[in-house]
C-alpha cells in the first residue's frame, strides 16, 4: 500500500488500472467510488444493476478474479490490477448466449429482468463451483440474490437444467 491514499484529499481522486471483460481500463476515480458506480456511471457497463447499494440484494454481483463479488460493496480502487467480469461478458463468440442465459429464457427465470444479471453471475458460479447438486443446494447458493418478481422456482429449474446438462443448451 502506498501513501497516495493519504494524499488523496487534495483532489479526492486517484488513478486505477484494471481489466473489465478483457479490456484494460485506466481511470481516475474519487476514492470512495464503488466498483458498481464505476461500471455503471463511468464505463457505461450498465448490465450490472444497483438494487440496494448495501450488499443486501445481489443485483450487482460480478466476478472479480473469478470470484463472485458484490460490486456495490467493493471500492473500485481495491480492484487495481484485477480482472472484473460482468454479465456483458457471458455471451460467447458472435454473441451466442451462454447456456445459463439460454436456460433463464427457456425456464422464464425472470420477469422484470432487473435482478437477472446478478442472478446469472451467481448461477454460473453455482454450477462452476459445484453447488448445483440438488434443488436444495441451488436454493441455498442462490439465496443471496433477491428477486421481487419471485421467479425463484423458475431460477432453480434453469440452474438445474444447466448443471444436469453439463453446460449444454437446455
Amino acid at each position: 500500500m502506498t501513501h497516495s491514499v493519504w494524499e488523496a484529499p487534495e483532489t479526492g481522486e486517484l488513478p486505477l488500472s484494471l481489466t473489465v471483460n478483457g479490456v484494460q481500463r485506466h481511470l481516475t476515480l474519487p476514492v470512495q467510488a464503488s466498483l458498481l458506480d464505476t461500471l455503471r456511471e463511468r464505463l457505461h457497463l450498465t448490465g450490472t444493476k444497483k438494487g440496494c447499494d448495501h450488499g443486501q440484494c445481489g443485483a450487482c454481483t460480478v466476478l472479480v478474479d473469478g470470484q463472485t463479488h458484490l460490486s456495490c460493496l467493493t471500492l473500485a480502487l481495491s480492484c487495481e490490477g484485477r480482472e472484473v467480469r460482468t454479465v456483458e461478458s457471458l455471451a460467447g463468440e458472435g454473441g451466442a448466449l451462454h447456456p445459463m442465459q439460454a436456460a433463464f429464457i427457456e425456464h422464464d427465470a425472470f420477469q422484470c429482468g432487473y435482478c437477472t444479471p446478478g442472478q446469472l453471475m451467481s448461477a454460473v458460479a453455482c454450477v462452476e463451483t459445484g453447488h448445483a447438486g440438488s434443488e436444495g443446494e441451488i436454493r441455498e447458493f442462490m439465496s443471496g440474490n433477491l428477486c421481487r418478481c419471485a421467479a425463484y422456482p423458475q431460477i432453480v429449474a434453469a440452474v438445474r437444467s444447466v448443471a444436469g446438462g453439463q453446460g449444454e443448451q437446455p
Binding site: P30, V87, D108, R148, Y152
Partner: protein, 764 residues
C-alpha cells in the same frame, strides 16, 4: 370493408419465451438510470428525518464547498413554485404533497432538499453535510396512533365507505351461532428491484424529455401540465423497461418534480436515483388495515349475516382507501351484510395501490375467518366454502350473474393436485418425523378491470411487423403477448414482429395496474393487426395484377408472411402487396372500447386521463377466481414455519401465454407467502420513522424460503370482458395465499394468528 379470413392461433395460448428475454439476459435492456444523456449532472435527494413539523433552516455551506457540487435546492430556493394537482388521477395521489413549496414536513421521509453535482460521489457526500434544523410537532405515525384522532388541519375529511344489504343486525340475532374476530395487516412497501429514477432534460423552456420507470406513461405529462403549465404533448416520457412496479410506479411522486426543477435551475440534464431507504419514503406503501367481523351462521353452517367494520390507514392530505372490505362483500352467498370502512389519517405519507390493493389484505381476514367458521361448523374448510359458494347466476353484492365463474372447478382441481383429501382435520395431527405439517387453503378472487386502448400495427418494407402501444411491460410479459397476438393475426413468425412500448409518443394507453394490460392493450393490438391484415387483403383483392384478385375474402388465410387462399398456394406475400401500393410502409391504427365501457372512456384515455371500466357492469359481475392450497412445515422446537408446497388453481379467462402467465401466478403466490410470514414495515413509535428501511431488515422471501409452487390455469375465455376473453393474471396469485398459509400454520400448530406476518414471536 372487412374480410373474414381465418388466422389460426399458433402463438396465442402457447408457452412462448419472453421476446425481451435476450436483451434482459445480456444486460442490454436499458432501464431508466442507464440512458446516456450528454452533460448529465447527478442529484441526490434529501429526506426529512421527522414525521411531522417544520424545517427551521437548511444550512448548505459545507455541502456547497464540496468540489463538484453545482447547487442545493430546497423550499429556501426562490422560483420553484408549483401549482396544486387536482383530481388527477383519482385525486393527486403521489403529488398530494408537492416538494419544496414550504417548510412544512407532513410525513416521514418527505423530500426536503436536493444536492446536484458533477458526480454521484460528490452529490452523495455533500448531501450528508446539510445542516438541517427542525421544529418537530406531535404526530400520528401508525394506524393504531391514528385512532386517537387527528387534531391537525384536514381539508378533506376522511370518508367512510359503506355497503348494506338485507338486515344484518336482525340476522345476527336470529343466527344459530355467532362468531367475532379481528384481523390485522401491516404497512408493506413495494420494493421493486429497480429503484425509482428520473433523468430530466429540458429542450428550451417548454419542452421536456423524461426518462422514468413508469406503469403509466401519461401520469407525468398530466402532472407537469398542472404543476408547471406545460403542454402534456411537450413532455416526452421514455420508459422501455421497468424493473418491477407492483403499483408504486403507477403515479408521479415528488422526486420527479424535484428532478425537473433541478434540471431547469441548472440548465442541464439531471439524473436522480432514489436510495433503497428512500424507496420506503415518498413512493407510497400498502396501508395497514384492520377488519373486525361479527358473523352469524344458520344451523346448517351457511352464512346468515356478516357485519364488517374495516379500517385502513391513509396519508396526511390525500385519501386512498385500501379497500379491504371488497372481497367480503361478494365472495360468498350471504343476504345480510353491513360494512363500514373508515379511513384513518397518519403522518406516513401518501399510500397507494400495491399488488391486489384491498383484495390481498382483505382476503387474509376473510379467508382466515372462513377457516375459523369451518371449524366452528365442524366442517372441512373446503367443504365449508363449497357450502357457502355464491352461485354462478348471482353475485351476492350486485345480484347480477357472473360473466364466467369456474370456482368449483378451481376447488376440485387444486384439491386433487394438492392431495387435500388426505388431510386429517385435527391441528397438530400431521407430522413428518418430529416436524409438524399443516395444510391450509383459501379462495382467491380478483375483479376484472379494463381500459379503452389504442395501438398501431405497421407493415415495413422488409416484411417485418411493428406494433406500437404507449403501454408498459413491468415484467408482466406485455412485449411477448402483444407479439404473439400480432404474429397470429398476420400469420408471420414471431421473430418478424417488433413491439414498441414505453414511449409517450406511441398510441396512448391507460396505466398498467389492476391486471388490465393484457386484456385491454391486447384487444387494441388484435384490432390493429387484424385491421392491417384486412386492409392489405382489400388492396390485393382489388388489384388486377394480384393472384388474389377476385378471390372471396372469406376464403383467405394469413400465413407465411402473406395472404393465401386456404389450402392452396394461390396468394402473395405482404411485401408484394405493399410494393404495389408504392409505399415504404403501411399502418393500421385502431382504438378499442372494452365491454361495459363507452366512447367517454376512449376520449378520456386520449386526453391522457385515467380510463377504467369497473368489474361490475350493467349486466355482469366480472371476476377471476382461484383456490390456493398450502403446506407448511413447522419445527416444533423453533416454531419457524416454512412453506414447502403451494398449489393454486386459477380461473383467469383466456391465457395468452402459458409460460409468462404461470410465472405471474407463481410470483403472486410467493408474494402471498411473503405477506404471511415475512413482510412488514416497522415504525418507531417514538420518532415516527421506519426502522427497517433496507432489504436486510425488510424481509422478502429468498430462494431458500420457497419450496414447490404450482399454478394450474383453467383457460376458459370470458367473452363478456372482451373478444379475446382475457381477464389478467398479475394480481390474483397473491389473493388468498397469505390466508392459506396462515390456515396451514394453524393446522400445524393449533395456534391461530390473526395478524400478518406470522413470525415466531406470535407462535410462542
Amino acid at each position: 370493408m372487412t374480410t373474414q379470413g381465418s388466422h389460426p392461433q399458433k402463438y396465442v395460448g402457447a408457452r412462448v419465451s419472453r421476446v425481451d428475454g435476450p436483451a434482459k439476459v445480456r444486460g442490454e435492456a436499458t432501464y431508466t438510470a442507464e440512458f446516456e444523456v450528454p452533460n448529465l449532472a447527478h442529484a441526490v435527494l434529501v429526506s426529512a428525518t421527522i414525521a411531522h413539523g417544520r424545517i427551521r433552516k437548511i444550512g448548505d455551506e459545507a455541502a456547497r464547498a464540496v468540489p463538484g457540487v453545482l447547487d442545493v435546492l430546497s423550499h429556501q430556493t426562490p422560483g420553484l413554485d408549483l401549482k396544486d394537482v387536482k383530481g388527477y388521477p383519482r385525486g393527486p395521489a403521489g403529488t398530494a404533497i408537492l416538494p419544496f413549496q414550504n417548510g412544512e414536513v407532513l410525513f416521514r421521509g418527505q423530500p426536503i432538499a436536493v444536492v446536484v453535482a458533477e458526480s454521484l460521489e460528490a452529490a452523495r457526500h455533500a448531501a450528508l453535510l446539510l445542516d438541517i434544523e427542525y421544529a418537530p410537532d406531535d404526530f400520528r405515525a401508525t394506524l393504531e396512533e391514528g385512532r386517537r384522532g387527528w387534531p391537525f388541519i384536514d381539508k378533506k375529511k376522511p370518508r367512510q365507505l359503506q355497503h348494506s344489504r338485507g338486515d344484518a343486525s336482525r340476522a345476527l340475532k336470529d343466527a344459530a351461532t355467532t362468531f367475532e374476530a379481528s384481523y390485522d395487516t401491516p404497512v408493506q412497501h413495494h420494493n421493486p428491484m429497480e429503484m425509482h429514477a428520473v433523468i430530466a432534460a429540458w429542450d428550451g423552456e417548454d419542452r421536456l424529455t423524461l426518462y422514468e420507470p413508469t406503469q403509466w406513461m401519461q401520469s407525468a405529462p398530466g402532472v407537469l401540465a398542472q404543476t408547471l403549465g406545460l403542454d402534456p404533448d411537450h413532455v416526452h416520457v421514455i420508459s422501455p423497461f421497468v424493473g418491477g412496479g407492483f403499483g408504486n410506479k403507477a403515479t408521479t411522486w415528488p422526486h420527479l418534480l424535484v428532478t425537473v426543477l433541478a434540471a431547469r435551475v441548472l440548465g442541464r440534464p439531471v439524473k436522480l436515483v432514489l436510495t433503497r431507504a428512500q424507496m420506503f419514503a415518498a413512493v407510497g406503501y400498502r396501508a395497514a388495515t384492520r377488519t373486525s367481523y361479527r358473523v352469524g351462521l344458520d344451523a346448517g353452517g351457511q352464512l346468515a349475516a356478516v357485519d364488517l367494520q374495516a379500517e385502513s390507514q391513509t396519508g396526511p392530505v390525500d385519501l386512498f382507501p385500501e379497500q379491504v372490505g371488497n372481497v367480503a362483500k361478494m365472495l360468498y352467498a350471504n343476504e345480510n351484510m353491513d360494512l363500514t370502512h373508515t379511513m384513518i389519517r397518519t403522518h406516513a405519507g401518501p399510500n397507494i395501490m400495491m399488488r391486489a390493493p384491498g383484495e390481498a389484505p382483505g382476503s387474509f381476514g376473510l379467508e382466515v375467518l372462513m377457516d375459523e367458521l369451518a371449524e366452528k361448523a365442524g366442517l372441512d374448510p373446503l367443504a365449508f366454502r363449497r357450502l357457502n359458494h355464491a352461485p354462478e347466476n348471482q353475485d351476492p353484492e350486485s345480484g347480477l350473474p357472473y360473466s364466467s365463474k369456474h370456482l368449483l372447478e378451481c376447488y376440485e382441481r387444486g384439491a386433487a393436485a394438492f392431495g387435500w383429501a388426505r388431510r386429517t382435520p385435527q391441528p397438530g395431527s400431521m407430522r413428518d418425523g418430529r416436524t409438524l405439517i399443516g395444510w391450509g387453503m383459501a379462495t382467491a378472487v380478483y375483479p376484472v378491470y379494463t381500459s379503452a386502448a389504442t395501438a398501431r400495427a405497421r407493415l415495413c418494407g422488409d416484411g417485418r411487423i411493428e406494433i406500437e402501444a404507449g403501454s408498459h411491460d413491468i415484467g408482466t410479459g406485455t412485449y411477448s403477448i402483444l407479439a404473439q397476438i400480432a404474429a397470429d393475426e398476420l400469420g408471420v413468425d414471431i421473430g418478424q414482429v417488433g413491439v414498441k412500448l414505453g414511449d409517450s409518443r406511441l398510441p396512448k394507453n391507460g396505466y398498467s395496474g389492476g391486471s388490465r394490460t393484457a386484456g385491454s392493450v391486447g384487444s387494441a393490438v388484435q384490432a390493429a393487426a387484424s385491421g392491417l391484415r384486412q386492409e392489405l387483403a382489400d388492396l390485393a383483392l382489388g388489384a388486377p395484377e394480384s393472384p388474389l384478385h377476385g378471390a372471396a375474402p372469406v376464403d383467405l388465410e394469413a400465413r407465411d408472411g402473406g395472404l393465401y387462399v386456404k389450402g392452396s398456394d394461390r396468394g402473395e406475400r405482404y411485401t408484394t402487396i405493399l410494393k404495389r401500393t408504392g409505399r415504404d410502409q403501411y399502418d393500421a391504427y385502431r382504438e378499442t372500447i372494452p365491454n361495459g365501457g363507452s366512447e367517454k372512456d376512449l376520449e378520456k384515455l386520449k386526453q391522457g386521463q385515467e380510463s377504467s371500466v369497473e368489474a361490475v357492469t350493467e349486466r355482469y359481475a366480472r371476476y377471476s377466481f382461484g383456490a390456493v392450497f398450502a403446506e407448511v412445515r413447522v419445527d416444533p422446537d423453533f416454531l419457524t414455519p416454512r412453506v414447502s408446497r403451494l398449489v393454486g388453481a386459477f380461473d383467469i379467462g383466456k391465457v395468452l401465454n402459458a409460460k409468462t402467465a404461470e410465472s405471474q401466478l407463481t410470483g403472486g403466490m410467493i408474494w402471498g407467502v411473503s405477506a404471511a410470514l415475512h413482510e412488514v414495515t416497522h415504525t418507531d413509535p417514538r420518532t415516527g420513522l421506519i426502522l427497517n428501511s433496507n432489504l436486510a431488515d425488510y424481509h422478502v422471501p429468498v430462494n431458500a424460503d420457497i419450496g414447490e409452487v404450482q399454478a394450474i390455469m383453467l383457460d376458459y375465455p370470458d367473452y363478456h370482458v372482451s373478444a379475446m376473453g382475457v381477464r389478467g393474471a398479475g394480481e390474483i396469485g397473491i389473493v388468498g395465499t397469505a390466508a392459506a398459509v396462515a390456515n396451514a400454520v394453524y393446522h400445524a400448530t393449533g395456534k391461530r394468528v390473526r395478524e400478518t406476518p406470522i413470525t415466531l414471536d406470535k407462535l410462542l
